[in-house]
């Protein structure tokens, strides 16, 4: 078995951290902690991208890393904090399913993703190929988090964290998407966040709450 280069080991470590943070987010009930976990996830993502850039001499990945760092560690968490303060929704959030069950489903999903990633990893020629399974697991777990949360803000955090997973998948499978695409996605996420913020205010205006069950009334009448 060939020795894994040092930088690749660090990447693997960061990937493991990413997965761990995903599980932490899945288990976290407090909204503010959720935002902090999201920022940490962004940080580990930016770090790992920078190390990939260093290890494989792909200069455009430095840009991606910088962009991720600014956007996901500072800008988006700051926007979320401000939203939470303005909407005054700092209390704990209840999930639709209790936390232990969610974690169990999460483990099943991780196994599924790893299983799925094996054939793709064999085809890929990147040093980071072993982390593809983790990236997919992150996407799945974020998706699960969106499904199980009842309030609007945790769902949005789930959505943003899913984008993190996708970004990581792109980095590990093909050393990142073209810079144009990445810029576009980053802008999408930012604009999406802003629009969703507006929506939150509208939803609260209408229903005096951010509980999504009120939206069920919007269904067309029978």
């Amino acid at each position: 078995m060939t020795a894994i280069p040092f930088y690749a080991q660090i990447i693997n470590l960061l990937a493991a951290l990413l997965l761990l943070l995903s599980f932490a987010m899945l288990a976290q009930r407090r909204v503010l902690s959720l935002v902090n976990l999201f920022a940490m996830q962004g940080l580990s993502l930016a770090l790992s991208t920078a190390i990939v850039a260093y290890g494989t001499a792909q200069p455009h990945l430095y840009w991606s890393a910088g962009l991720t760092f600014v956007l996901k560690v500072f800008l988006l968490p700051w926007l979320l904090h401000r939203l939470i303060r303005q909407l005054d929704v700092r209390w704990d959030v209840e999930g639709l399913i209790n936390i232990p069950t969610t974690m169990l489903i999460g483990i099943v999903l991780v196994v599924f993703s790893f299983n799925l990633a094996v054939p793709i990893s064999e085809l890929a020629s990147t040093v980071t190929r072993s982390t593809l399974g983790i990236a997919m697991a992150c996407v799945m777990l974020s998706f699960l988090m969106m499904i199980t949360r009842r309030k609007a803000i945790p769902q949005v955090i789930g959505f943003l964290s899913m984008e993190n997973g996708l970004f990581f998948a792109a980095t590990s499978a093909t050393y990142g998407m073209p810079l144009v695409v990445e810029l576009g996605i980053a802008l999408d996420v930012l604009v999406g966040m802003l629009i969703l913020g507006v929506f939150f205010f509208q939803i609260r205006e209408q229903f005096d709450s951010l509980d999504l069950k009120h939206l069920e009334k919007l269904k067309e009448g029978e």
Partner: protein
């Protein structure tokens, strides 16, 4: 000096867009728009028409524009076929623009500047459709045309029924556009090159040419108003302002004819004989259907809309005949049929525009579209009435006006049919010729009704006494179109000489031959069997009329006695005793009762306030459109079942889909 027709066309397109943009810059300045912009648009149109006349006979010109997407530039090309339709566009829209200058005024709906922009964008888009040389530019221009005309139709967008009519039009236009897009997809033959040049070179195997033809017939038929996609016409035309109706009916429908000709005769290398039979049958059914429904209409613009359906039917029948002859290599007769098609398209652009504009004048003067409330307008609006008479006689197909020439040519083409090798077709053709003659005769009946009820007799309503004749600019537009109808009728040989390059391009033969006929005498194929000289006809008609007037005048001169009319025992005659539109159409309604969905309320003899009410509906709504709409509704309800209203459930849907797909691709 040779004129670069293509450059001229492109300049005209840019010019129209500039005029439109100027209108948009001063949207409420009615004087500026009507006294400067619309006349400027008309001048551009006239120049375009003059350039197109020169371009018909010159060899095709091509150009690649530095517009479009990267690596996908716009190709344009001006050959005889394009040039002929550009001529039609320029010649007809010049008159309509002049008329519009006097017609549009400030209203509740779209401001005049926006109308000016939409109108000129519409013209520019039509010109672009005609010169497009790749599917990409063609579709862009085609959709621009549909959108511009949609906004023009919904000028009075505050009225819900007008929005509804506009929506119906847009819907059918889109269905048609999808078919056209698929048609181009078939035509490019899997090479991925969407220029028309590549489509001409592409070799399609098996059933693909047929698929392309049927898609083109469907797609362009939706725009032209072929059965069963005609339902937008009778809704959109009454909704639109009259110049827009004129432009849509007179010119836009012809772009669909252009597209059909382009695909069938140019892009598809060979034609199959049974395509001709399909087009012929569809065209004749459309013509008959349109004219029968025109007979029973009581709204003058709906009547004209159904009459447009009829004329498009005749044109498509002619195309079918041309395909049939071309498929059997009878290029000479195919050229006659093709001449009839193109001639009729040109004629229809003139007389239908004239009539729609005349209805616009009537509408402005009386605020009334219903035939039952008009009448006697020839005394109040003599200019409009006499000019409309020219249009009426033309569309009714009376010599020596233009409608007769094209219909006569088409009948000639029918009469030559027995030389075909297919006995089945030979048996079919007499029936088709009879149907054509029936449609043409009924069209004359429709026009007698239209003209008689609107302009003749006595006014049916009191406020008609105050009707004002058309203004100077409107009059100028009408005179131009009426003069066009007369000239197109009087000099058919010259016109056919103009059309012949198109014939040579499409069917490989010319309709005119040296030695047969002269500039005075039109004699296709064989002067012994048939010939027609409109000038001689005019002279004879004029001589007979003058002679009769003279004789009557001489014979009865001095013996005229003015006295109360013999009043049949009725001491007083009121306008209510005149024949109405319903009454005039009643025999036709009885004879063709099976075609209509009719609801009738007849009063009993004992009614204190007797009321007679009859509504005639288009059966296609019930046969085709409502079932489709109901099926779509049912399907939507079925799908609506999975709409739970809970975001989590929706997320689960996509999550499960994702997992399933991932598990499947593994």
């Amino acid at each position: 000096m040779a004129i670069d027709g293509l450059l001229l066309t492109l300049t005209a397109i840019v010019g129209w867009l500039v005029v439109g943009a100027l209108g948009l810059s001063r949207p409420r300045d009615l004087r500026f728009i009507s006294h400067i912009l619309f006349p400027a648009g008309a001048v551009i149109a006239l120049l375009l028409a003059a350039g197109a006349v020169a371009a018909i006979a010159s060899p095709p010109q091509t150009r690649i524009l530095a517009l479009g997407l990267p690596d996908l530039p716009f190709h344009v090309r001006l050959d005889a076929l394009s040039a002929f339709f550009v001529l039609l566009l320029g010649a007809a829209s010049a008159a309509i623009s002049i008329f519009s200058a006097g017609y549009f005024r400030t209203s509740e709906g779209t401001p005049p500047g926006a109308i000016c922009f939409q109108y000129h964008a519409f013209l520019a888009a039509m010109a672009l459709v005609l010169i497009a040389d790749d599917a990409y530019l063609f579709m862009v221009a085609w959709e621009t045309m549909a959108l511009a005309s949609f906004f023009l139709v919904t000028t009075e967008h505050r009225l819900p029924e007008i929005r509804r009519a506009g929506f119906l039009y847009l819907l059918i236009a889109h269905i048609g556009a999808i078919a056209i897009l698929l048609c181009f997809g078939v035509l490019q033959g899997g090479q991925g090159d969407y220029t028309f040049g590549a489509m001409r070179a592409a070799h399609l195997s098996g059933g693909w040419p047929t698929a392309a033809f049927l898609l083109a017939l469907f797609g362009f038929g939706a725009k032209a108003g072929l059965l069963p996609l005609h339902v937008w016409l009778p809704e959109a035309h009454p909704a639109a302002p009259s110049p827009v109706s004129a432009l849509m009916s007179g010119v836009m429908l012809k772009t669909a004819i252009y597209g059909l000709l382009r695909v069938t005769f140019d892009l598809l290398g060979t034609q199959l004989w049974w395509w001709g039979v399909v087009a012929l049958a569809l065209g004749l059914v459309t013509a008959l259907f349109g004219v029968i429904f025109a007979c029973v209409q009581t709204d003058m613009k709906r009547l004209l809309a159904y009459s447009s359906i009829e004329n498009i039917g005749i044109i498509v029948a002619g195309i079918g005949l041309a395909i049939l002859f071309k498929a059997y290599d009878k290029n000479l007769i195919a050229a006659i049929a093709m001449t009839a098609v193109l001639y009729h398209a040109l004629n229809h652009a003139f007389f239908k525009s004239l009539l729609f504009l005349a209805t616009g004048c009537v509408l402005h003067a009386t605020h009334e579209r219903s035939l039952g409330k008009l009448g006697g307008l020839i005394h109040r609006m003599p200019w409009v009435a006499w000019l409309a008479l020219v249009g009426t006689l033309s569309i009714a197909g009376l010599p020596p006006l233009n409608g007769f020439v094209s219909e006569w040519l088409l009948l000639q083409a029918f009469l030559f049919t027995p030389s075909l090798p297919q006995s089945f077709v030979n048996m079919l053709v007499p029936v088709a010729a009879a149907a054509l003659v029936l449609a043409v005769a009924l069209a004359a009946y429709v026009m007698v009704k239209f003209y008689g009820v609107v302009f003749l007799g006595r006014p049916r309503e009191a406020n008609l006494e105050n009707a004002q004749d058309a203004g100077t600019l409107e009059r100028a537009g009408l005179i131009y179109l009426a003069a066009g109808c007369v000239l197109l009728g009087l000099f058919p040989v010259t016109v056919i000489g103009l059309i012949d390059p198109v014939n040579r391009l499409l069917v490989g033969a010319a309709a005119l031959h040296p030695g047969l006929g002269s500039w005075l005498m039109l004699a296709p194929l064989n002067p012994d069997r048939s010939s027609y000289s409109p000038l001689v006809m005019l002279v004879v008609i004029a001589a007979v009329v003058l002679l009769t007037v003279y004789v009557v005048h001489r014979a009865y001169h001095g013996r005229v006695r003015r006295a109360p009319a013999w009043d049949c025992g009725f001491p007083a005659q009121t306008p209510q005793m005149q024949d109405t539109a319903e009454g005039f159409g009643q025999p036709i309604r009885q004879v063709f009762e099976a075609f209509f969905r009719m609801e009738r309320e007849l009063p009993t003899p004992f009614d204190r306030e007797p009321r007679y009410r009859v509504t005639v509906e288009d059966p296609f709504w019930h046969w085709l459109y409502l079932p489709v709409a109901r099926a779509a509704d049912r399907l939507a309800r079925l799908v609506g079942f999975i709409q739970q209203g809970r975001i989590s459930v929706y997320l689960v849907y996509s999550f499960v889909t994702l997992l399933t797909l991932l598990a499947m691709v593994r």
